[in-house]
Subunit: 773 residues, 2 copies
């Protein structure tokens, strides 16, 4: 990977691949993925390679392909692929010689570009290939392939259309579809998911020209199972430029912008739309989309880092991906752990959204944050059902979520156990219960930062109360104390643990918050109180919350200040971990031990107690923080992409800015770095959110603690200046930090008083304030 392509206007906007490597394709397919929150299109090449993992995904179009599988986001019919026969040879960069190769994703405008010269059999061809997924029209995918034969006239055989023979790793989600070719030019494929019954409409067409003159090549139609193509045979004179524009659109019956509901009419409608789009042409369509990137994205989410190109690029990379992963168009949908960039985690949403990505939106675009939290409300009935099924009360959120009514969708079986040779049972869907408290935490954070009382009244309070009710029903009495037995905490290398510190503290926070708001509403908003009481019986539950809080075990620091991650944790075996901490791929521990064995060792997949310290920082003294850092960090493999960013922020908090910076860089490296396998199944939404958190909450020092904004920046020595914007209580604040001072400027004309603390001093913000550091 290369991170700077030289040109000033694109400086720190472009990530490039210098050398094509057909063995390691997943990386660029994922990190250079295109999308717009509705569509995600992996950046697989037009030509095929055996290690390619083509993927196109539409947010929320979940399907359960067979009874024994869980609901997942299907890989939908592909338009990107095409077969190119150049002078009788199937084009492939594995053959012949490739000169001046570059594949670039331009984060500024969302365009993917490949350029190279291909030499085969002494024939030379120049290629430039562009592609984008429109941010202006979310249904639109456009490609432009430019080819010039340099050594002689070229005979091109092009097979291109729509390929519905796609599966999610062999799991087929679609029934055989309807194929149609209109006017020998427009190709349509309409299919349905086999269980959720969502119809997909895919249309594509080609504009072919030579030296800017439209070619009237009569395509020859070809249909196969789940496939419909046109074949073109074109002669291109030596030195002439052939341009193939492939314009495609995607619609489903699940789209919230659908105004037509009749299948036949939708076929006609989507085909007619494509006709119009195709007539507009690639260049103009691209201009429209890139304008939206500039105006709606980069004008709003601008973060400038002076002094370090790599982190400047990385924060753009993180924001780019958060934009393309977020289904802002439809609050029935949430952010997937891999965004829309791969089949990993089946398109499911986890706490990654609420704890790791949401802060970006809460501080940068509260409207979108609200939509994501509305999504959690829309699935509260499924959470209530889950609680009921498990024998509890209230709302127990699924560990993995798909559609709002699906409930728990965590699969039950994973990879092989090295000892028994049997697949490992996945317990997280049953035991990783902290997510209900995480969601509550996220809601509280959102409310504290945005003051969005309307959200709280319509959705937030109800979630907080019903998750509290869940916890009150979940705890078990033991020696007159409440314990929470048999859970998995964030550190998933320990299963079936009792009194996991993270879980217990967060549950405690959740129930406390419910009590607080209960008391608040009972005094200040009787009408809402009565409505909620009528709906979910809060008056009846209140005493159980109180009882729960009074007796819930909160694991305390031992004489060394160490909070045991769970009961008995500190008695477990300590093993040498160098081998695994220096691994090039995560999960190597499982090559030597099975989970049962790992359960008996002091080794962590990810921050557990440390994440708790980060989220509920005012509950712990600095000494305790340092002691736990020193104890747990060396035992952590960072096998989860959620781990490093938390550690970076904490390291900064604890005064080790150098370590924090190196941990930020490791966070960035998860997707942007040189490890060629780490992103095969998609990018890591949480660590991308983590990059933003490291920059703004970590080095930028922005934090909401106990409902109060704190701003205590601490730049790493590599940075000269950090400049970013946040929204706080509906005010827009521009914060510029350098080594000596911090300047906060208030934008817009709100009259609200904005208070914040800095080094234990409280400030009131007028139009502008400068604080010397």
């Amino acid at each position: 990977m290369r991170y700077n392509n030289g040109k000033e206007e694109n400086k720190n906007w472009i990530i490039s691949e210098d050398t094509f490597d057909s063995y390691h394709l997943g990386k660029c397919e994922s990190i250079m993925c295109l999308g717009n929150g509705y569509l995600g299109v992996r950046s697989s090449t037009e030509e095929s390679y055996i290690n390619a993992m083509r993927g196109t995904f539409i947010a929320g179009s979940f399907n359960k392909c067979e009874a024994n599988e869980v609901t997942e986001l299907p890989n939908i019919p592909d338009v990107i692929g095409m077969e190119l026969l150049l002078d009788g040879t199937q084009f492939s960069l594995d053959k012949g010689q490739v000169i001046d190769y570059s594949r670039d994703i331009n984060l500024k405008n969302g365009q993917l570009t490949r350029t190279f010269i291909w030499v085969y059999n002494n024939l030379k061809y120049k290629f430039t290939i562009h592609r984008f997924v429109s941010l202006e029209n979310i249904h639109l995918v456009c490609q432009k392939i430019e080819m010039t034969p340099l050594s002689q006239d070229m005979e091109l055989e092009l097979k291109s259309g729509i390929n519905g023979q796609v599966t999610n790793n062999g799991a087929a989600h679609f029934v055989e579809g309807d194929k149609r070719i209109y006017e020998n030019r427009f190709i349509q494929y309409v299919t349905k998911t086999n269980e959720s019954d969502i119809a997909f409409f895919v249309n594509t067409t080609h504009n072919i020209s030579i030296d800017c003159c439209l070619c009237d090549s009569q395509g020859l139609s070809a249909m196969d199972r789940r496939k419909v193509l046109l074949e073109h045979n074109i002669i291109v004179p030596k030195g002439s430029k052939l341009v193939i524009e492939k314009i495609s659109n995607f619609h489903t019956t699940n789209d919230c912008d659908n105004k037509i509901h009749d299948l036949k009419a939708l076929k006609e409608y989507t085909y007619r739309r494509l006709e119009k789009q195709a007539n507009v042409g690639y260049d103009e369509l691209f201009k429209r989309s890139s304008t939206v990137w500039l105006e709606k994205v980069w004008n709003n989410y601008k973060i400038e880092i002076k002094g370090c190109d790599y982190t400047q690029l990385a924060i753009r990379f993180a924001i780019y991906h958060m934009i393309i992963m977020t289904p802002v168009h439809d609050n029935r949908m949430n952010i997937a752990a891999k965004g829309l960039t791969g089949e990993g985690y089946k398109g499911h949403s986890f706490w990654d959204t609420d704890i790791f990505v949401l802060p970006f939106y809460v501080y940068s675009n509260p409207k979108i944050a609200r939509k994501l939290l509305e999504n959690r409300y829309l699935s509260i009935d499924a959470a209530r059902n889950k609680a009921k099924q498990e024998g509890y009360e209230g709302a127990m959120y699924p560990w993995e979520s798909a559609s709002i009514n699906d409930g728990e969708v965590t699969p039950l079986w994973g990879n092989a156990d090295v000892v028994t040779g049997l697949p490992i049972k996945i317990w997280t869907g049953i035991l990783e219960q902290h997510i209900s408290a995480d969601i509550t935490f996220a809601i509280w954070q959102y409310y504290m930062i945005t003051d969005d009382l309307n959200y709280m009244e319509k959705y937030g309070y109800e979630i907080i109360f019903d998750t509290a009710t869940f916890w009150a029903s979940r705890v078990e009495l033991q020696d007159n104390k409440y314990v929470i037995k048999n859970v998995i905490g964030p550190d998933e290398y320990k299963e079936h643990v009792d009194n996991n510190a993270f879980t217990n503290y967060m549950a405690h926070f959740n129930v406390s918050l419910a009590i607080f708001y209960y008391e608040h509403l009972s005094k200040n908003n009787k009408r809402l109180f009565d409505r909620l009481n009528k709906k979910i019986g809060i008056r009846r539950k209140y005493s159980s919350w109180k009882d729960c809080i009074d007796k819930l075990v909160l694991p305390q620091p031992n004489e060394d200040g160490i909070i045991p991650q769970a009961d008995g944790y500190l008695d477990k075996k300590i093993i040498k971990l160098e081998k695994y901490r220096n691994q090039s791929q995560v999960g190597n521990l499982f090559k030597d031990y099975n989970l049962e064995q790992i359960n008996q060792m002091q080794v962590l997949k990810q921050a557990d107690v440390l994440l708790l310290i980060f989220l509920l920082e005012s509950s712990f003294s600095k000494d305790v923080k340092i002691a736990n850092w020193n104890y747990y960090e060396p035992k952590t493999l960072h096998d989860s992409s959620l781990s490093l960013a938390t550690h970076s922020i904490l390291a900064n908090d604890l005064g080790n800015s150098e370590l924090a910076y190196s941990l930020l860089n490791r966070t960035i490296d998860i997707d942007m770095g040189q490890k060629m396998k780490s992103s095969d199944w998609g990018i890591h939404a949480a660590s991308l959110g983590g990059i933003w958190q490291c920059v703004v909450l970590g080095f930028g020092g922005v934090r909401m603690v106990g409902g109060i904004l704190r701003i205590e920046p601490e730049l790493p020595k590599q940075w000269d200046e950090l400049k970013f914007t946040i929204y706080y209580k509906r005010c827009k604040l521009l914060i510029v930090v350098d080594k000596k001072k911090m300047r906060i400027t208030r934008k817009g004309d709100s009259l609200k008083t904005i208070c914040f603390v800095h080094k234990d001093l409280k400030y009131e913000l007028g139009d502008k304030i400068i604080i010397m550091l």
Copy 2:
């Protein structure tokens, strides 16, 4: 393709590929396919290529993957593929330099061998790769990969196991399976078809050795969706030979040799069997299988052609394929149009079996012929259902058959119509009705040649009667004549035709035969007559048969002697066909015209009237035969693989042995020739049967005409001698023909009198007879 590898012992036994071409893989995958009638394994390479069409099929394991699709033979989990990383580079013949390449199928022992030297990055590796599918144990598939690093020590990373992520062109037939690795060595994958509920048990293991010393490489287990693998990292010293034996077995709950029916017990049983087989090792397992090839196949089906290597090899090729396509182990199964060599025609059986392949078995191994005809009896209830569904009586056989109870399985939609852009409706399943008469013809032929009265009494008569009843209900009265309207004849380029000559004559033959046997049984076998009457009411039907025969229209030759293929055929437009007759791929006509247009032209896909003349040769005068040949042949595109062989035999009958020989060669070329696309979806069972027919029935002149054996050989000038064996009336006859004489020797000790005719003279055969030609 190369057809002679030089060594005397293998002369005319080996078909070779000289140059590897990753674009044209289907050809060798199909024609070099391995199998045993239970299993078919396409000869895809171990390493993967994008144009590869891996395929493993088990006879009769049909499944209907979704409601809108038809039942088909699923592509089952693959064991052949493996990923080889050689010194960090993924092995692929598309990269680097390939020296001394050869891929050979040895027809004598059913072993596939690839040898080559691969040079990449200045590193040199020698490969020899063997593979066979056992004919001794039909469940067994064995591979042996030998690799020697020639330039330095080699670091090999091998990923190999079972891959269930296979589909039939995107249509997935299997549910997620159970994965297991035993003793870190034996890999098991158990899955089920999603509709027919057949469980598949696949086991595989590796024996790895370096210079004959067993390697104790500890495999690392890896599971993915529908995939279970072991990863090995092995260092091979320069010059040392690494040998990887991969031994695999396949079982299903549909196997007729299953003695265990509990799934858990079958898992254990199949794994234990593999354990034993793996301990025996490749070389000994191969020896056992090749002994069966020699003793059971080549000792029994020997045909020797002196004077022409290509046809000698071709007849072996045809027999090899007929052996591996025929499910002799289980009469619930029939021969598929593509055998077990590809996904083409979905593993369905057509009249190809009864008219094109069956004669080989009738004359060479009547027991197998009987099994195939038993299969037709087993599906008679499905044929009766089909008749009922279509509003007819009796038994109406499906045009395409899968499992015996499936009934009609012809798909309803095909490729795009070039004019409308819509998929073409496939009418054959509804309209191509001659198959019921074809089956009757095959039964009669079988009976006449074998004298197997037992078959007739148990099955044959009943089929003949009930198909006659179908025809009697199918005909329509028009002007006091019976017509058969709206059918498709063998020439499928004409749909919805009335009084198709082939159909009407064959129906007439069918009903006549029923009348004949009715009268015969009513006189000579009252008990059977009564049983059949009770079962299918033949007494009641008899008069309708008589009536049908009396009035059925049989298209008569016009003044020029031309029998119109169907009503109005001779009035259709005649177009220039050179372009299509010289095509390199079949079906080019459809690139210019749609079926509606083709329906209005005098152009044939395949022999229609000519095939009729071949089958019912005594019904037509020589003049009529010649006139029709001259009229129809130039209008025939031979777009069906059924066409050329018939023409070859007829050409010989009509005295044009040179043309006959050239047509035989074109028949052979369909699969064995140089056209690289023709066999992608599998070999052509009918044309392979056709090769045998050209040799034995054509040039060998063996024919059963009106119940009497006729032997009138006429060798092409390229042949010096033809030597073959046939069974006739349970006697084995060795026939040796050269340019001057024919010698017939009777083998074994039957005392039955064997009569035959030659040039209108009747002969009685003692032990031996020599007739001068």
